[in-house]
Protein backbone atom coordinates (compact mmCIF):
# COMPACT_ATOMS: atom_id res chain seq x y z
CA UNK A 1 0.00 0.00 0.00
CA UNK A 2 1.34 3.35 -0.99
CA UNK A 3 -0.33 6.75 -0.61
CA UNK A 4 0.30 9.13 -3.50
CA UNK A 5 1.08 12.64 -2.22
CA UNK A 6 0.61 14.24 -5.63
CA UNK A 7 -2.12 16.16 -7.46
CA UNK A 8 -2.80 12.94 -9.35
CA UNK A 9 -3.23 11.06 -6.09
CA UNK A 10 -5.44 13.78 -4.62
CA UNK A 11 -7.82 13.64 -7.60
CA UNK A 12 -7.98 9.84 -7.33
CA UNK A 13 -8.77 9.98 -3.60
CA UNK A 14 -11.47 12.61 -4.14
CA UNK A 15 -13.06 10.39 -6.80
CA UNK A 16 -12.90 7.31 -4.54
CA UNK A 17 -14.43 9.25 -1.64
CA UNK A 18 -17.19 10.63 -3.87
CA UNK A 19 -18.05 7.21 -5.35
CA UNK A 20 -18.09 5.59 -1.90
CA UNK A 21 -20.17 8.43 -0.41
CA UNK A 22 -22.57 8.12 -3.35
CA UNK A 23 -22.87 4.40 -2.67
CA UNK A 24 -23.47 4.82 1.08
CA UNK A 25 -25.90 7.73 0.57
CA UNK A 26 -27.85 5.67 -1.95
CA UNK A 27 -27.95 2.73 0.46
CA UNK A 28 -29.50 5.15 2.96
CA UNK A 29 -32.16 5.83 0.31
CA UNK A 30 -31.04 9.40 -0.40
CA UNK A 31 -31.09 8.76 -4.13
CA UNK A 32 -30.76 12.36 -5.32
CA UNK A 33 -27.83 13.19 -3.04
CA UNK A 34 -26.27 9.90 -4.09
CA UNK A 35 -26.62 10.84 -7.72
CA UNK A 36 -25.02 14.25 -7.18
CA UNK A 37 -22.09 12.63 -5.38
CA UNK A 38 -21.79 10.05 -8.17
CA UNK A 39 -21.64 12.86 -10.72
CA UNK A 40 -19.03 14.64 -8.60
CA UNK A 41 -16.96 11.43 -8.48
CA UNK A 42 -17.19 11.20 -12.25
CA UNK A 43 -15.93 14.78 -12.66
CA UNK A 44 -13.00 14.02 -10.32
CA UNK A 45 -12.21 10.84 -12.29
CA UNK A 46 -12.28 12.79 -15.58
CA UNK A 47 -9.91 15.37 -14.06
CA UNK A 48 -7.60 12.58 -12.82
CA UNK A 49 -7.52 11.03 -16.30
CA UNK A 50 -7.05 14.43 -18.00
CA UNK A 51 -4.25 15.34 -15.59
CA UNK A 52 -2.49 12.05 -16.32
CA UNK A 53 -2.85 12.67 -20.06
CA UNK A 54 -1.26 16.12 -19.68
CA UNK A 55 1.48 14.67 -17.47
CA UNK A 56 2.56 11.74 -19.69
CA UNK A 57 1.86 13.50 -23.03
CA UNK A 58 0.18 10.53 -24.66
CA UNK A 59 -3.24 8.92 -24.25
CA UNK A 60 -2.93 7.35 -20.79
CA UNK A 61 -3.83 3.75 -21.55
CA UNK A 62 -0.36 2.23 -21.39
CA UNK A 63 -0.35 0.39 -18.08
CA UNK A 64 -2.70 -0.91 -15.41
CA UNK A 65 -2.62 2.36 -13.43
CA UNK A 66 -3.84 4.32 -16.46
CA UNK A 67 -6.32 1.65 -17.49
CA UNK A 68 -7.96 1.74 -14.04
CA UNK A 69 -8.18 5.54 -14.25
CA UNK A 70 -9.95 5.11 -17.58
CA UNK A 71 -12.36 2.49 -16.19
CA UNK A 72 -13.32 4.74 -13.28
CA UNK A 73 -14.09 7.52 -15.73
CA UNK A 74 -16.31 5.53 -18.09
CA UNK A 75 -18.44 3.88 -15.41
CA UNK A 76 -20.72 6.94 -15.09
CA UNK A 77 -21.54 7.29 -18.82
CA UNK A 78 -22.02 3.50 -19.03
CA UNK A 79 -24.36 3.67 -16.04
CA UNK A 80 -26.31 6.55 -17.58
CA UNK A 81 -26.57 4.75 -20.95
CA UNK A 82 -27.77 1.50 -19.37
CA UNK A 83 -30.43 3.22 -17.28
CA UNK A 84 -31.71 5.63 -19.92
CA UNK A 85 -31.40 3.60 -23.11
CA UNK A 86 -31.47 -0.05 -22.02
CA UNK A 87 -33.66 0.39 -18.93
CA UNK A 88 -31.20 -1.55 -16.81
CA UNK A 89 -30.62 -0.81 -13.12
CA UNK A 90 -27.61 -1.58 -10.94
CA UNK A 91 -26.96 2.08 -10.24
CA UNK A 92 -25.63 1.47 -6.73
CA UNK A 93 -23.33 -1.30 -7.92
CA UNK A 94 -21.88 1.10 -10.52
CA UNK A 95 -20.88 3.54 -7.78
CA UNK A 96 -19.12 0.73 -5.98
CA UNK A 97 -17.45 -0.47 -9.21
CA UNK A 98 -16.15 3.11 -9.68
CA UNK A 99 -14.54 3.05 -6.22
CA UNK A 100 -13.22 -0.51 -6.61
CA UNK A 101 -11.43 0.15 -9.92
CA UNK A 102 -9.86 3.32 -8.52
CA UNK A 103 -8.56 1.62 -5.39
CA UNK A 104 -5.56 -0.12 -7.04
CA UNK A 105 -4.75 3.09 -8.93
CA UNK A 106 -4.78 5.05 -5.67
CA UNK A 107 -3.03 2.65 -3.35
CA UNK A 108 -1.29 -0.21 -5.15
CA UNK A 109 -0.12 0.50 -8.70
CA UNK A 110 2.96 2.48 -9.63
CA UNK A 111 2.15 5.88 -11.17
CA UNK A 112 5.65 6.56 -12.52
CA UNK A 113 5.16 7.96 -16.08
CA UNK A 114 6.55 5.70 -18.79
CA UNK A 115 7.52 6.50 -22.34
CA UNK A 116 5.79 4.63 -25.11
CA UNK A 117 7.93 1.80 -26.51
CA UNK A 118 8.12 1.66 -30.33
CA UNK A 119 5.43 -1.05 -30.58
CA UNK A 120 2.87 1.17 -28.84
CA UNK A 121 3.46 4.14 -31.15
CA UNK A 122 0.58 3.27 -33.43
CA UNK A 123 -2.79 4.80 -34.23
CA UNK A 124 -4.26 1.45 -33.12
CA UNK A 125 -3.08 1.86 -29.53
CA UNK A 126 -5.92 4.12 -28.34
CA UNK A 127 -8.90 2.46 -30.10
CA UNK A 128 -7.71 -1.07 -29.24
CA UNK A 129 -7.40 -0.39 -25.50
CA UNK A 130 -10.31 2.07 -25.22
CA UNK A 131 -12.74 -0.28 -26.93
CA UNK A 132 -11.69 -3.10 -24.60
CA UNK A 133 -12.13 -0.89 -21.53
CA UNK A 134 -15.63 0.10 -22.63
CA UNK A 135 -16.58 -3.52 -23.22
CA UNK A 136 -15.16 -4.53 -19.81
CA UNK A 137 -17.27 -1.94 -18.02
CA UNK A 138 -20.43 -3.17 -19.77
CA UNK A 139 -19.55 -6.78 -19.00
CA UNK A 140 -18.99 -5.84 -15.34
CA UNK A 141 -22.48 -4.35 -15.28
CA UNK A 142 -23.86 -7.48 -16.95
CA UNK A 143 -22.17 -9.57 -14.27
CA UNK A 144 -23.90 -7.60 -11.53
CA UNK A 145 -27.23 -8.28 -13.22
CA UNK A 146 -26.35 -11.97 -13.52
CA UNK A 147 -25.48 -12.11 -9.81
CA UNK A 148 -28.80 -10.40 -9.02
CA UNK A 149 -30.54 -13.02 -11.10
CA UNK A 150 -28.77 -15.84 -9.28
CA UNK A 151 -29.59 -14.23 -5.96
CA UNK A 152 -33.20 -14.35 -7.17
CA UNK A 153 -34.06 -10.92 -5.90
CA UNK A 154 -36.59 -9.81 -8.43
CA UNK A 155 -38.02 -12.33 -10.77
CA UNK A 156 -38.61 -15.99 -10.98
CA UNK A 157 -38.98 -17.63 -14.30
CA UNK A 158 -41.39 -20.37 -15.17
CA UNK A 159 -39.59 -23.35 -16.65
CA UNK A 160 -42.36 -24.07 -19.13
CA UNK A 161 -41.81 -22.58 -22.57
CA UNK A 162 -39.02 -20.33 -21.39
CA UNK A 163 -41.38 -17.44 -20.67
CA UNK A 164 -40.68 -14.85 -18.06
CA UNK A 165 -43.19 -14.23 -15.29
CA UNK A 166 -42.93 -11.33 -12.97
CA UNK A 167 -44.16 -12.62 -9.64
CA UNK A 168 -44.20 -9.56 -7.51
CA UNK A 169 -44.32 -6.14 -9.02
CA UNK A 170 -43.44 -4.43 -5.79
CA UNK A 171 -40.10 -6.28 -5.87
CA UNK A 172 -39.19 -4.47 -9.06
CA UNK A 173 -39.24 -1.18 -7.21
CA UNK A 174 -36.76 -2.55 -4.71
CA UNK A 175 -34.19 -2.59 -7.56
CA UNK A 176 -34.90 1.03 -8.36
CA UNK A 177 -34.47 2.53 -4.95
CA UNK A 178 -31.00 3.87 -5.58
CA UNK A 179 -31.81 5.11 -9.08
CA UNK A 180 -32.52 8.87 -9.39
CA UNK A 181 -35.98 7.95 -10.60
CA UNK A 182 -37.29 5.08 -8.43
CA UNK A 183 -40.49 4.70 -10.42
CA UNK A 184 -38.92 3.88 -13.78
CA UNK A 185 -39.65 0.54 -15.35
CA UNK A 186 -36.47 -1.58 -15.49
CA UNK A 187 -35.76 -4.88 -17.21
CA UNK A 188 -35.65 -8.09 -15.16
CA UNK A 189 -32.05 -9.20 -14.44
CA UNK A 190 -31.83 -12.07 -16.95
CA UNK A 191 -33.07 -9.84 -19.75
CA UNK A 192 -30.88 -6.98 -18.48
CA UNK A 193 -27.80 -9.25 -18.53
CA UNK A 194 -28.53 -10.17 -22.14
CA UNK A 195 -29.14 -6.54 -23.18
CA UNK A 196 -25.86 -5.34 -21.67
CA UNK A 197 -23.85 -8.22 -23.12
CA UNK A 198 -25.33 -7.31 -26.52
CA UNK A 199 -23.77 -3.85 -26.04
CA UNK A 200 -20.42 -5.12 -24.72
CA UNK A 201 -19.88 -8.03 -27.08
CA UNK A 202 -19.43 -6.02 -30.33
CA UNK A 203 -16.87 -3.88 -28.49
CA UNK A 204 -15.08 -7.00 -27.27
CA UNK A 205 -15.04 -8.31 -30.85
CA UNK A 206 -13.72 -5.01 -32.20
CA UNK A 207 -11.01 -4.95 -29.52
CA UNK A 208 -9.89 -8.45 -30.45
CA UNK A 209 -9.84 -7.68 -34.17
CA UNK A 210 -8.02 -4.36 -33.75
CA UNK A 211 -5.46 -6.14 -31.57
CA UNK A 212 -4.99 -8.81 -34.20
CA UNK A 213 -4.58 -6.23 -36.99
CA UNK A 214 -2.10 -4.31 -34.86
CA UNK A 215 -0.18 -7.52 -34.12
CA UNK A 216 0.23 -8.04 -37.86
CA UNK A 217 1.50 -4.46 -38.33
CA UNK A 218 3.89 -4.54 -35.38
CA UNK A 219 5.12 -8.11 -35.01
CA UNK A 220 4.32 -9.72 -38.36
CA UNK A 221 1.58 -12.04 -37.18
CA UNK A 222 -2.12 -11.39 -36.73
CA UNK A 223 -2.21 -14.15 -34.14
CA UNK A 224 0.89 -14.75 -32.06
CA UNK A 225 -0.51 -17.26 -29.51
CA UNK A 226 0.60 -14.86 -26.78
CA UNK A 227 -1.01 -15.61 -23.34
CA UNK A 228 -2.88 -12.30 -23.32
CA UNK A 229 -4.21 -12.92 -26.84
CA UNK A 230 -5.35 -16.39 -25.82
CA UNK A 231 -7.09 -15.13 -22.67
CA UNK A 232 -8.70 -12.41 -24.81
CA UNK A 233 -9.94 -15.15 -27.12
CA UNK A 234 -11.19 -17.16 -24.12
CA UNK A 235 -13.28 -14.21 -22.87
CA UNK A 236 -14.71 -13.75 -26.38
CA UNK A 237 -15.51 -17.48 -26.60
CA UNK A 238 -17.30 -17.48 -23.23
CA UNK A 239 -19.72 -14.84 -24.53
CA UNK A 240 -20.05 -16.71 -27.85
CA UNK A 241 -20.96 -19.76 -25.76
CA UNK A 242 -23.45 -17.64 -23.79
CA UNK A 243 -25.22 -16.51 -26.97
CA UNK A 244 -25.40 -20.04 -28.37
CA UNK A 245 -26.64 -21.50 -25.10
CA UNK A 246 -29.27 -18.77 -24.76
CA UNK A 247 -30.33 -19.31 -28.36
CA UNK A 248 -30.76 -23.05 -27.67
CA UNK A 249 -32.69 -22.75 -24.41
CA UNK A 250 -33.90 -19.16 -24.23
CA UNK A 251 -34.84 -18.25 -20.65
CA UNK A 252 -35.52 -21.85 -19.67
CA UNK A 253 -32.32 -22.06 -17.60
CA UNK A 254 -31.77 -18.48 -16.44
CA UNK A 255 -29.28 -19.54 -13.79
CA UNK A 256 -27.01 -21.22 -16.35
CA UNK A 257 -27.30 -18.12 -18.55
CA UNK A 258 -26.15 -16.06 -15.57
CA UNK A 259 -23.28 -18.45 -14.84
CA UNK A 260 -22.04 -17.98 -18.44
CA UNK A 261 -22.08 -14.20 -17.91
CA UNK A 262 -20.24 -14.42 -14.60
CA UNK A 263 -17.68 -16.82 -16.11
CA UNK A 264 -17.07 -14.20 -18.82
CA UNK A 265 -16.23 -11.59 -16.19
CA UNK A 266 -13.92 -13.98 -14.33
CA UNK A 267 -11.98 -14.56 -17.55
CA UNK A 268 -11.89 -10.80 -18.22
CA UNK A 269 -10.36 -10.24 -14.76
CA UNK A 270 -7.74 -12.92 -15.53
CA UNK A 271 -7.04 -11.25 -18.89
CA UNK A 272 -6.76 -7.77 -17.41
CA UNK A 273 -4.94 -8.53 -14.17
CA UNK A 274 -3.49 -11.97 -13.79
CA UNK A 275 -1.90 -12.14 -17.23
CA UNK A 276 -0.09 -8.83 -16.58
CA UNK A 277 0.76 -9.30 -12.92
CA UNK A 278 1.61 -12.99 -12.83
CA UNK A 279 4.96 -14.32 -13.98
CA UNK A 280 3.12 -17.36 -15.28
CA UNK A 281 2.27 -15.59 -18.53
CA UNK A 282 5.25 -13.71 -19.94
CA UNK A 283 4.57 -12.41 -23.44
CA UNK A 284 4.21 -9.51 -25.80
CA UNK A 285 1.87 -7.64 -23.46
CA UNK A 286 4.26 -7.63 -20.48
CA UNK A 287 4.81 -3.85 -20.78
CA UNK A 288 1.20 -3.25 -19.69
CA UNK A 289 2.03 -3.71 -15.96
Amino acid sequence: MEIKYTIQGLLIYIAIAAYLSAFVTSLLRRAKTGHILYLFGFVAAVLAFGYRWYHVRHVPLQNLFEVFLCLSMIIYPASWFCRRILRVGGYCADMLIGAIVLFPAGFILNAQPQRLPPALQSWLFTPHVAVYMLSYIFMAKATFQAISQLAGRQHQFSRSGGSCQQKDESNQRSENWCSPNPNENLLPPEQATYSIICIGFPLLTLGLILGSYWGKKAWGDYWGWDPKELWGLVSWLVYVGYFHFRYMFGKKYPRINSIWAIAGMVVIIVTLLWVNLSRLFPGLHSYAI
Binding site: Y213, V238, F281, G283
Partner: protein
Amino acid sequence: MNKFRRAVMWVGLTLIILLLFLSIYGAFIGAERAKSFFNRLPLVVFWSAFLLLLIVGLVVFRRLVRVPGLLLIHSGCVFILAGAIWSSEPGHKLQKKLFGIDKITTGQMRIYEGHSDNRVILEDNKQIKELPFSVELKDFQIEYYKPAFLYIQTRDGQGWRIPVEIDTEFPLGPEFGTVKILRAFENFKITIEGENRKIIDDPQHGFNPALEVQFTSPEGQVTNRYVFERFPGHSHSEDKFLLSYRRVISDYVSRLRITKDNKVVAEKDIEVNHPLSFGGYHFYQHFYDTEAGQYTVLMVVSNAGLAVVYAGYWMLCVGVFWHMWLRHIVEKRTKKHINGN
Protein backbone atom coordinates in the same frame (compact mmCIF):
# COMPACT_ATOMS: atom_id res chain seq x y z
CA MET B 1 -35.71 -27.11 -33.59
CA ASN B 2 -35.53 -30.56 -35.18
CA LYS B 3 -33.16 -33.27 -33.98
CA PHE B 4 -30.46 -32.66 -36.60
CA ARG B 5 -30.37 -28.93 -35.98
CA ARG B 6 -30.28 -29.51 -32.24
CA ALA B 7 -27.37 -31.93 -32.76
CA VAL B 8 -25.53 -29.31 -34.86
CA MET B 9 -26.06 -26.73 -32.11
CA TRP B 10 -24.77 -29.13 -29.46
CA VAL B 11 -21.69 -29.98 -31.53
CA GLY B 12 -21.13 -26.25 -32.08
CA LEU B 13 -21.39 -25.48 -28.38
CA THR B 14 -19.08 -28.40 -27.58
CA LEU B 15 -16.44 -27.16 -30.06
CA ILE B 16 -16.67 -23.64 -28.61
CA ILE B 17 -16.14 -24.99 -25.07
CA LEU B 18 -13.33 -27.25 -26.28
CA LEU B 19 -11.57 -24.34 -28.00
CA LEU B 20 -12.04 -22.32 -24.84
CA PHE B 21 -10.21 -24.92 -22.73
CA LEU B 22 -7.54 -25.47 -25.39
CA SER B 23 -6.89 -21.73 -25.39
CA ILE B 24 -6.53 -21.70 -21.60
CA TYR B 25 -4.04 -24.56 -21.91
CA GLY B 26 -2.21 -22.65 -24.66
CA ALA B 27 -1.97 -19.56 -22.43
CA PHE B 28 -0.19 -21.57 -19.73
CA ILE B 29 2.44 -23.12 -22.00
CA GLY B 30 3.70 -19.86 -23.57
CA ALA B 31 3.46 -18.43 -27.08
CA GLU B 32 6.06 -20.58 -28.84
CA ARG B 33 4.80 -23.92 -27.56
CA ALA B 34 1.20 -22.81 -28.04
CA LYS B 35 1.92 -22.00 -31.69
CA SER B 36 3.36 -25.43 -32.34
CA PHE B 37 0.54 -27.05 -30.29
CA PHE B 38 -2.22 -25.36 -32.32
CA ASN B 39 -0.52 -26.36 -35.59
CA ARG B 40 -0.31 -30.09 -34.74
CA LEU B 41 -2.28 -32.65 -36.70
CA PRO B 42 -5.07 -33.24 -34.11
CA LEU B 43 -5.61 -29.48 -33.94
CA VAL B 44 -5.57 -29.21 -37.75
CA VAL B 45 -8.43 -31.74 -37.63
CA PHE B 46 -10.15 -29.64 -34.96
CA TRP B 47 -9.87 -26.42 -37.03
CA SER B 48 -11.15 -28.23 -40.11
CA ALA B 49 -14.10 -29.65 -38.10
CA PHE B 50 -14.86 -26.16 -36.80
CA LEU B 51 -14.81 -24.76 -40.32
CA LEU B 52 -16.99 -27.58 -41.61
CA LEU B 53 -19.49 -27.13 -38.78
CA LEU B 54 -19.80 -23.41 -39.53
CA ILE B 55 -20.56 -24.22 -43.17
CA VAL B 56 -23.06 -26.93 -42.14
CA GLY B 57 -24.67 -24.42 -39.77
CA LEU B 58 -25.07 -21.90 -42.59
CA VAL B 59 -26.74 -24.59 -44.74
CA VAL B 60 -28.98 -26.06 -42.03
CA PHE B 61 -30.16 -22.94 -40.21
CA ARG B 62 -32.10 -20.75 -42.60
CA ARG B 63 -32.09 -17.97 -40.02
CA LEU B 64 -28.32 -17.68 -40.42
CA VAL B 65 -28.79 -16.82 -44.09
CA ARG B 66 -31.96 -14.74 -43.76
CA VAL B 67 -30.72 -12.47 -40.98
CA PRO B 68 -27.93 -10.34 -42.53
CA GLY B 69 -26.07 -9.79 -39.25
CA LEU B 70 -25.93 -13.49 -38.43
CA LEU B 71 -24.90 -14.33 -41.99
CA LEU B 72 -22.02 -11.84 -41.81
CA ILE B 73 -20.90 -13.05 -38.37
CA HIS B 74 -20.85 -16.74 -39.28
CA SER B 75 -19.47 -16.39 -42.79
CA GLY B 76 -16.88 -13.96 -41.36
CA CYS B 77 -15.74 -16.75 -39.03
CA VAL B 78 -15.57 -19.12 -42.03
CA PHE B 79 -13.32 -16.62 -43.86
CA ILE B 80 -11.07 -16.11 -40.82
CA LEU B 81 -10.62 -19.84 -40.27
CA ALA B 82 -10.10 -20.57 -43.97
CA GLY B 83 -7.57 -17.72 -44.30
CA ALA B 84 -5.76 -18.81 -41.14
CA ILE B 85 -5.52 -22.41 -42.35
CA TRP B 86 -4.25 -21.19 -45.75
CA SER B 87 -1.59 -18.97 -44.16
CA SER B 88 -0.40 -21.56 -41.63
CA GLU B 89 2.66 -23.81 -42.03
CA PRO B 90 0.53 -26.86 -43.02
CA GLY B 91 -1.40 -24.53 -45.39
CA HIS B 92 1.84 -23.52 -47.14
CA LYS B 93 2.80 -27.19 -47.51
CA LEU B 94 -0.62 -27.85 -49.04
CA GLN B 95 -0.17 -24.93 -51.47
CA LYS B 96 3.15 -26.41 -52.57
CA LYS B 97 1.62 -29.85 -53.12
CA LEU B 98 -1.54 -28.68 -54.90
CA PHE B 99 -0.41 -25.65 -56.88
CA GLY B 100 3.38 -25.77 -56.79
CA ILE B 101 3.52 -22.44 -54.92
CA ASP B 102 6.75 -22.56 -52.95
CA LYS B 103 6.75 -19.60 -50.56
CA ILE B 104 8.62 -18.92 -47.37
CA THR B 105 6.12 -18.94 -44.47
CA THR B 106 8.26 -17.10 -41.92
CA GLY B 107 11.97 -16.46 -41.73
CA GLN B 108 14.66 -13.97 -40.81
CA MET B 109 17.28 -11.98 -42.71
CA ARG B 110 20.40 -10.49 -41.18
CA ILE B 111 21.71 -7.63 -43.32
CA TYR B 112 24.74 -5.44 -42.63
CA GLU B 113 24.73 -1.71 -43.36
CA GLY B 114 25.60 -1.05 -47.00
CA HIS B 115 25.12 -4.72 -47.99
CA SER B 116 22.32 -6.51 -49.79
CA ASP B 117 21.12 -10.08 -49.41
CA ASN B 118 18.38 -12.42 -50.54
CA ARG B 119 18.92 -15.35 -48.14
CA VAL B 120 16.29 -16.06 -45.54
CA ILE B 121 16.79 -18.39 -42.56
CA LEU B 122 13.54 -20.31 -42.22
CA GLU B 123 11.87 -20.23 -38.81
CA ASP B 124 10.74 -23.85 -38.74
CA ASN B 125 13.86 -25.80 -39.82
CA LYS B 126 16.60 -23.11 -39.88
CA GLN B 127 17.38 -23.92 -43.53
CA ILE B 128 18.34 -21.15 -45.93
CA LYS B 129 16.07 -20.20 -48.79
CA GLU B 130 16.49 -17.46 -51.37
CA LEU B 131 14.10 -14.70 -52.30
CA PRO B 132 13.69 -13.83 -56.01
CA PHE B 133 14.95 -10.29 -55.22
CA SER B 134 17.58 -8.66 -53.00
CA VAL B 135 17.14 -6.46 -49.95
CA GLU B 136 19.76 -3.80 -49.28
CA LEU B 137 20.20 -2.09 -45.90
CA LYS B 138 21.18 1.48 -46.73
CA ASP B 139 21.27 2.58 -43.10
CA PHE B 140 20.15 1.50 -39.64
CA GLN B 141 19.34 3.98 -36.89
CA ILE B 142 18.18 3.80 -33.30
CA GLU B 143 16.30 6.85 -32.07
CA TYR B 144 16.01 7.78 -28.39
CA TYR B 145 13.66 9.84 -26.29
CA LYS B 146 15.13 13.06 -24.97
CA PRO B 147 16.34 13.75 -22.37
CA ALA B 148 18.24 10.64 -21.37
CA PHE B 149 18.86 10.22 -17.63
CA LEU B 150 21.76 9.66 -15.29
CA TYR B 151 20.74 7.58 -12.26
CA ILE B 152 22.74 8.12 -9.10
CA GLN B 153 22.37 5.88 -6.09
CA THR B 154 24.21 5.95 -2.75
CA ARG B 155 25.20 2.70 -1.09
CA ASP B 156 22.46 3.18 1.51
CA GLY B 157 19.77 3.41 -1.18
CA GLN B 158 19.25 7.18 -1.63
CA GLY B 159 18.73 8.01 -5.32
CA TRP B 160 18.49 10.82 -7.90
CA ARG B 161 17.43 10.93 -11.53
CA ILE B 162 19.34 13.64 -13.40
CA PRO B 163 18.41 14.67 -16.97
CA VAL B 164 21.38 14.64 -19.32
CA GLU B 165 21.99 18.39 -19.87
CA ILE B 166 25.60 19.23 -20.60
CA ASP B 167 27.31 21.65 -18.14
CA THR B 168 24.24 22.09 -15.95
CA GLU B 169 24.92 21.67 -12.24
CA PHE B 170 22.44 19.70 -10.13
CA PRO B 171 22.47 19.77 -6.30
CA LEU B 172 22.57 16.44 -4.44
CA GLY B 173 21.93 17.95 -1.01
CA PRO B 174 24.27 19.31 1.71
CA GLU B 175 25.79 15.88 2.34
CA PHE B 176 26.84 15.09 -1.25
CA GLY B 177 27.43 18.43 -3.03
CA THR B 178 26.68 18.77 -6.76
CA VAL B 179 26.89 16.85 -10.02
CA LYS B 180 27.54 18.11 -13.54
CA ILE B 181 27.52 16.19 -16.82
CA LEU B 182 30.50 17.34 -18.87
CA ARG B 183 30.18 15.28 -22.02
CA ALA B 184 27.99 12.65 -23.72
CA PHE B 185 29.58 10.01 -25.99
CA GLU B 186 27.93 7.87 -28.66
CA ASN B 187 30.99 5.63 -28.99
CA PHE B 188 33.40 6.06 -26.09
CA LYS B 189 36.97 4.98 -26.85
CA ILE B 190 40.43 5.41 -25.33
CA THR B 191 43.32 5.88 -27.72
CA ILE B 192 46.95 5.71 -26.64
CA GLU B 193 49.41 8.06 -28.32
CA GLY B 194 52.85 7.54 -26.89
CA GLU B 195 52.43 7.87 -23.13
CA ASN B 196 49.21 9.85 -23.37
CA ARG B 197 45.78 8.33 -23.06
CA LYS B 198 43.15 10.19 -25.00
CA ILE B 199 39.39 9.80 -24.63
CA ILE B 200 37.47 10.26 -27.86
CA ASP B 201 33.96 9.89 -29.29
CA ASP B 202 34.81 7.60 -32.22
CA PRO B 203 32.57 8.25 -35.22
CA GLN B 204 33.71 4.94 -36.78
CA HIS B 205 32.15 1.51 -36.13
CA GLY B 206 31.23 0.76 -32.56
CA PHE B 207 28.57 1.38 -29.98
CA ASN B 208 29.57 2.46 -26.50
CA PRO B 209 27.40 5.32 -25.21
CA ALA B 210 28.79 6.99 -22.11
CA LEU B 211 28.77 10.15 -19.99
CA GLU B 212 31.59 12.07 -18.37
CA VAL B 213 30.32 13.19 -14.97
CA GLN B 214 31.86 15.59 -12.46
CA PHE B 215 31.04 15.46 -8.75
CA THR B 216 31.89 18.38 -6.46
CA SER B 217 31.77 17.56 -2.74
CA PRO B 218 30.56 20.14 -0.18
CA GLU B 219 34.25 20.67 0.70
CA GLY B 220 35.02 21.58 -2.94
CA GLN B 221 36.79 18.33 -3.88
CA VAL B 222 36.22 17.52 -7.59
CA THR B 223 35.97 13.93 -8.92
CA ASN B 224 35.40 12.89 -12.53
CA ARG B 225 33.75 9.62 -13.48
CA TYR B 226 32.67 7.88 -16.69
CA VAL B 227 29.29 6.16 -16.82
CA PHE B 228 28.60 3.56 -19.53
CA GLU B 229 25.15 2.73 -20.79
CA ARG B 230 26.07 -0.90 -21.38
CA PHE B 231 27.52 -1.38 -17.88
CA PRO B 232 24.91 0.08 -15.50
CA GLY B 233 25.77 0.35 -11.82
CA HIS B 234 29.53 -0.08 -12.46
CA SER B 235 31.65 1.64 -9.81
CA HIS B 236 34.97 1.50 -7.99
CA SER B 237 35.03 0.26 -4.41
CA GLU B 238 36.01 3.71 -3.09
CA ASP B 239 33.13 5.47 -4.89
CA LYS B 240 30.20 6.88 -2.91
CA PHE B 241 27.78 6.39 -5.78
CA LEU B 242 26.51 3.69 -8.13
CA LEU B 243 25.93 5.29 -11.52
CA SER B 244 23.76 4.27 -14.47
CA TYR B 245 23.17 5.95 -17.81
CA ARG B 246 19.81 5.10 -19.35
CA ARG B 247 18.26 6.09 -22.64
CA VAL B 248 14.81 4.94 -23.71
CA ILE B 249 14.52 3.79 -27.32
CA SER B 250 11.78 5.58 -29.23
CA ASP B 251 12.27 3.87 -32.60
CA TYR B 252 14.38 1.55 -34.76
CA VAL B 253 14.64 2.50 -38.42
CA SER B 254 16.03 0.35 -41.24
CA ARG B 255 16.36 2.14 -44.57
CA LEU B 256 15.75 -0.56 -47.15
CA ARG B 257 16.04 -0.78 -50.91
CA ILE B 258 14.79 -3.76 -52.91
CA THR B 259 16.47 -4.61 -56.21
CA LYS B 260 15.47 -7.10 -58.85
CA ASP B 261 17.47 -7.70 -62.06
CA ASN B 262 19.74 -4.76 -61.06
CA LYS B 263 16.79 -2.39 -60.91
CA VAL B 264 15.50 -0.67 -57.76
CA VAL B 265 11.90 -1.81 -57.44
CA ALA B 266 11.00 -0.61 -53.94
CA GLU B 267 12.40 1.59 -51.19
CA LYS B 268 11.14 2.21 -47.67
CA ASP B 269 12.28 3.16 -44.16
CA ILE B 270 10.79 0.42 -42.07
CA GLU B 271 10.03 0.83 -38.37
CA VAL B 272 8.00 -1.09 -35.81
CA ASN B 273 4.36 -0.75 -36.98
CA HIS B 274 5.50 0.27 -40.48
CA PRO B 275 6.58 -2.85 -42.42
CA LEU B 276 7.48 -3.06 -46.11
CA SER B 277 5.29 -5.13 -48.43
CA PHE B 278 6.80 -6.48 -51.62
CA GLY B 279 6.57 -9.59 -53.81
CA GLY B 280 4.03 -11.42 -51.63
CA TYR B 281 6.03 -10.85 -48.45
CA HIS B 282 6.02 -8.44 -45.53
CA PHE B 283 9.35 -7.29 -44.09
CA TYR B 284 9.39 -6.29 -40.40
CA GLN B 285 11.96 -4.60 -38.20
CA HIS B 286 12.66 -7.51 -35.83
CA PHE B 287 16.02 -7.17 -34.11
CA TYR B 288 19.35 -5.35 -34.43
CA ASP B 289 23.03 -5.58 -33.57
CA THR B 290 23.03 -4.57 -29.89
CA GLU B 291 26.83 -4.66 -29.71
CA ALA B 292 27.80 -2.36 -32.57
CA GLY B 293 24.58 -1.29 -34.35
CA GLN B 294 25.98 -2.59 -37.65
CA TYR B 295 23.26 -4.90 -38.83
CA THR B 296 19.52 -5.27 -38.71
CA VAL B 297 17.45 -8.43 -38.48
CA LEU B 298 14.32 -8.41 -40.60
CA MET B 299 11.43 -10.80 -40.24
CA VAL B 300 10.08 -12.03 -43.56
CA VAL B 301 6.46 -13.21 -43.54
CA SER B 302 4.39 -14.57 -46.40
CA ASN B 303 1.12 -12.71 -47.05
CA ALA B 304 -0.75 -15.83 -48.24
CA GLY B 305 -4.31 -15.95 -46.91
CA LEU B 306 -4.05 -12.53 -45.27
CA ALA B 307 -6.67 -10.86 -47.50
CA VAL B 308 -9.14 -13.68 -46.68
CA VAL B 309 -8.54 -13.24 -42.93
CA TYR B 310 -9.01 -9.46 -43.19
CA ALA B 311 -12.20 -9.92 -45.22
CA GLY B 312 -13.42 -12.21 -42.42
CA TYR B 313 -12.55 -9.56 -39.81
CA TRP B 314 -14.59 -6.95 -41.67
CA MET B 315 -17.55 -9.29 -42.05
CA LEU B 316 -17.48 -10.34 -38.40
CA CYS B 317 -17.18 -6.77 -37.19
CA VAL B 318 -19.87 -5.32 -39.45
CA GLY B 319 -22.13 -8.31 -38.70
CA VAL B 320 -21.83 -8.13 -34.94
CA PHE B 321 -22.36 -4.35 -34.81
CA TRP B 322 -25.28 -4.54 -37.25
CA HIS B 323 -26.96 -7.43 -35.45
CA MET B 324 -26.55 -6.17 -31.90
CA TRP B 325 -26.56 -2.40 -32.26
CA LEU B 326 -27.52 -0.87 -35.58
CA ARG B 327 -30.50 -2.97 -36.66
CA HIS B 328 -32.33 -2.07 -33.43
CA ILE B 329 -31.76 1.64 -34.08
CA VAL B 330 -32.93 1.28 -37.70
CA GLU B 331 -35.99 -0.76 -36.61
CA LYS B 332 -36.92 1.84 -33.98
CA ARG B 333 -36.63 4.67 -36.49
CA THR B 334 -38.66 2.78 -39.07
CA LYS B 335 -41.39 2.11 -36.47
CA LYS B 336 -41.39 5.75 -35.44
CA HIS B 337 -41.63 6.79 -39.08
CA ILE B 338 -44.57 4.40 -39.71
CA ASN B 339 -46.34 5.55 -36.52
CA GLY B 340 -45.75 9.17 -37.52
CA ASN B 341 -47.46 8.60 -40.86
